[in-house]
Symmetry: C2
Subunit: 375 residues, 2 copies
């Protein structure tokens, strides 16, 4: 039985930050906890959002979000949320800030410890309520502003995906203006994150045709506009369409994701490397597409159409060529991954939530082969 | 500014009618007013739904829905709703029954007269509340089970489209089982209704890329499976996909529709003919596609891809060929429309809500040309 539910209110356009005050009011937030990171703050983006609030809204600013948000950072943020008497979250940043913000909102609404909410251990049922959250993305990749999930590296080293309809922000404010200054490398890496979401969501075997359609539309935009956005970060049409690709990717991954994300979550938790999630997705994507191919013949035709490829083009090859074109690393070795990291990667990928919705069931051997093909 | 909002919970699969009792409970309906028509009742479909309710749920059955629902029928139904002490609507049928049910739910929640809610006259603001409604479609065409709108022929002869987010049913129960026995002609006509929704919604200039994606996915399904469903009504995959096309069409026409619907609404109100809405859409679609072509070059490429047409194929021609293949009338003359009906048609089409979102602005002359090309 397919049960289709769609999602949250999204204000989407240049200038959308002007909607933040109205959405805070609608969500009943009088003192927002602003979850962000130092880079976003020093780039002046937090100010652009808080300026829109005017002088009458007190805020509590937290710019300590790490590149991959950790449970320790979440707890530190939550302490500040409580001691500053906040009544909701305003997340401003990329996936890390939004995910940290979601974790804080969960602790504020349902109490800790965070680990109890692990959906693979049935923790979804323990999510009683979540403090209201408004999300303002400053990258075009994660789509966390409309998604049911967030990802945190736990104290015990696991990179856990939490998911519940209650984690969908009360409103998403998508203002491509905030991405105009995004550096080239970050544009490329986050863009491939969004594209991977569209591809993996479309391939997930869950029955949700509307989400399939959203995924293909997002892919069509992302594939056309990512090279443009990387070449010229000031191209407004490219920034608009990349942000839409990101939002659509996350709207569609309500279906689940696949082995690319299982592997990226596994590799993203290696503390020594602190690897970027989008870059990892880009690097794993070709090998996973080759592994999944036998199960996805008709779907690969539709992917190729959305990407504007000539019939019969190898889509894994096309992704590798895109990675090279936009300057992403050629493989895991170039990112610092060592032979001795592999067993750990396999063990974690196998247990990741995203592995459950890969279109082809992957055993340990399969994960190893995909990793080695991505070195 | 694009503000994207998605929609209602939809249970979708063979056997979905089993979800009706739970959804009635969730909606707080203890005595449903069952809005249906005589054909649906005599086909045994109402029984299939009410059987699922068990013995403990009293119902009030109204099978007096006309082929094109009228204000008079709505008022008669509402009288019965009140005198039987109903507290919500269970609509079982095609677009007519669902739309009549929506009108009754509106009167129950916000009072009459119905005409005050005309959105073209600012009536949307007067919609204060709407009684809960669960929709169970028995055709695959209208998509009213997930849509924000409904259409009623008013006492003064206008065919009015009412629209509000509050008109979206609390839940849609889409069970393709209920369409297995649908006669060939009705399968063809309702199927082209769904396909027209996907096409016109995609072409509407409103900015809503997720809805564009949903429209193209629906079109892909509808175009592939309509000929199969018409040839063999027992083909379960075809029935499933046609119902999904119908649902996706209505999910996407939150963007608005276009000149096809403006013309069909105008022609559908000619009392003497009592023409079928889906058939009218099918007959008007080729001429409207030709009229819109100059404004839609890139979009027609994407439509053609979704329809599986070779690049450069004339999509208006392809629609005419589909109409012929599935046995629909070749034009308006064959449906009984006379020369003297034309001025009236033009006058009404021009003022129809759907005309506002046609991708190319149409003057009186343009409407006349489209009508004459569809004779």
């Amino acid at each position: 039985m397919a049960t289709l539910t769609y999602l949250t209110t999204t204000h989407f356009d240049f200038g959308a930050v002007q909607q933040v005050p109205a959405e805070l009011r609608r969500a009943g937030i009088s003192k927002p906890f602003v979850a962000t990171d130092e880079g976003v703050r020093t780039a002046g983006l937090v100010e652009r959002v808080t300026d829109a609030l005017g002088r009458n809204v007190p805020t509590s600013l937290f710019d300590g979000t790490p590149g991959n948000p950790t449970e320790a950072a979440v707890l530190k943020a939550f302490d500040q949320y409580v001691s500053d008497g906040c009544d909701g979250v305003l997340a401003v940043g990329g996936g890390s800030s939004m995910d940290l913000g979601k974790a804080v909102a969960l602790l504020a609404g349902s109490g800790g410890p965070l680990a109890q909410f692990d959906p693979l251990a049935g923790g979804g049922k323990l999510v009683k309520s979540v403090a209201p959250l408004i999300a303002v993305p400053t990258t075009a990749g994660t789509g966390s502003e409309v998604s049911v999930g967030f990802v945190i590296i736990m104290e015990d080293g696991r990179k856990l995906t939490f998911a519940s309809p209650l984690f969908v922000p009360k409103a998403a404010i998508c203002d491509p203006d905030l991405t105009l200054g995004l550096p080239r490398a970050m544009t490329a890496a986050t863009g491939m994150d969004a594209i991977t979401h569209c591809i993996e969501a479309f391939l997930a075997p869950t029955v949700n045709p509307p989400a399939d359609g959203v995924a293909l539309d997002g892919l069509w935009r992302g594939w056309n506009y990512l090279p443009v956005a990387v070449r010229d970060g000031e191209d407004r049409a490219a920034r608009w369409n990349m942000m839409m690709c990101s939002t659509e990717g996350a709207l569609s991954f309500i279906k689940g994701l696949g082995a690319v994300h299982a592997l990226s979550h596994a590799a993203g938790r290696i503390e020594r490397l602190n690897l970027h999630h989008g870059t990892l997705n880009a690097v794993f994507l070709p090998a996973v597409l080759r592994f999944n191919a036998p199960e996805c013949v008709e779907k690969y035709d539709r992917l190729g159409q959305a990407m504007g490829l000539a019939p019969g083009t190898d889509i894994a090859e096309a992704v590798s060529a895109m990675n090279a074109d936009i300057g992403l690393p050629s493989g895991l070795h170039a990112m610092g991954l060592q032979e001795e990291d592999i067993p750990d990667l396999i063990a974690y990928a196998k247990k990741d939530l995203s592995a459950l919705t890969n279109p082809r069931s992957a055993a340990e051997d399969d994960f190893e082969a995909m990793i080695r093909a991505s070195l």
